[in-house]
Symmetry: C2
Subunit: 194 residues, 2 copies
């Protein structure tokens, strides 16, 4: 099964880091894995891992082939002061989960996290890290409040896309945004816009 | 394996109805199953099924050995005008999911609904039925809004009890109620209390 076709060195190194990351997360769980350990396993300098991917949660997103990092999405949304953050975050979730191509890897991750303790451990560490280190400080709220916002978003995903309960499963994205955004905004506890 | 010990006729009939119900839901899914079909399979009159259990969703709850029916909980909560409905519903969810004995059957149902399409189909029919026929009319809101309230509650359960993400997993029930109830109340769109 060995492929002998040559690829540019950078792509190969990137792939080797991702492979090392998958092995490290799988063996040690999210909290046990580290950029340093992943670099050691791939035989590269930790600075190179940071250069290609960024922090541990971003390495995880790339390794699991997830379409987006919730931390990145929220940071992007919060920088764009032209739109309401609750509506913007909901639109991103609806877009990613509404497209079968980007939905597939997210669905696989949620399915395994709900089904097996090993996968739950990995997702638990990843979500806790993103909530504590990136989302809560960015929103300026407590990590507990940030995890309740995550509950609202993942609950919507569970009911609409995983179990597909009507009428939520067939509602238009804009109807969902209009009805749900006020409650998400309240859980975010944001000051009113400018 | 046949047990020859005698049980009172009523208990035996009740058990036979539940066995017929499990078979009917399993074969036809939630929407395909009916009180009439379950009664026929158990060899009893449909009125007896209603007498023992009530409506189809209540037969389902008994057959799956679930600790509670979300429709029942909400109706009970709405009748008790002395407490805030959002806080009361959250407390019931936290209580049922916080106790390992009552958590176990709910967790098994959610795990299988997320993991297999057959179980998802059954849970989808059950939740849609309860939302449309019991919860939405009782709250006086659209079924879409009722399904968003369900999203908030099941999302909290997913993050706190299934994946167990910190800090939500270890937060005290009263902290969760205090922080989350305003957002749940807003999704319920209830008029302010008396």
């Amino acid at each position: 099964m060995a492929r002998t076709g040559r690829r540019p060195g950078a792509t190969r190194t990137r792939e080797e880091i991702l492979q090392a990351a998958r092995a490290d997360f799988g063996e040690k769980g999210y909290n046990g894995a580290s950029v340093r350990g992943i670099a050691r396993r791939a035989g590269v300098d930790p600075a190179l891992v940071h250069h290609y991917f960024g922090s541990k949660d971003q390495v995880f997103v790339a390794a699991m082939e997830l379409p987006y990092d919730p931390g990145d999405v929220l940071e992007r949304v919060m920088l764009d002061t032209g739109q309401d953050p609750a509506e913007a975050v909901l639109r991103v979730f609806l877009q990613v989960w509404g497209d079968p191509r980007t939905q597939a890897p997210m669905l696989a991750l949620i399915r395994s996290a709900v089904g097996t303790e090993q996968a739950a451990d990995i997702v638990r560490g990843f979500m806790g890290d993103v909530l504590l280190r990136r989302i809560a400080p960015r929103l300026g709220v407590s990590p507990l409040r940030a995890s309740l916002v995550a509950s609202q978003l993942f609950g919507m995903v569970l009911v609409r896309y995983v179990i597909r309960v009507e009428p939520l499963a067939s509602a238009s994205p804009e109807d969902v945004v209009a009805l749900y955004a006020p409650a998400v905004r309240l859980a975010m506890d944001l000051p009113k816009g400018p």
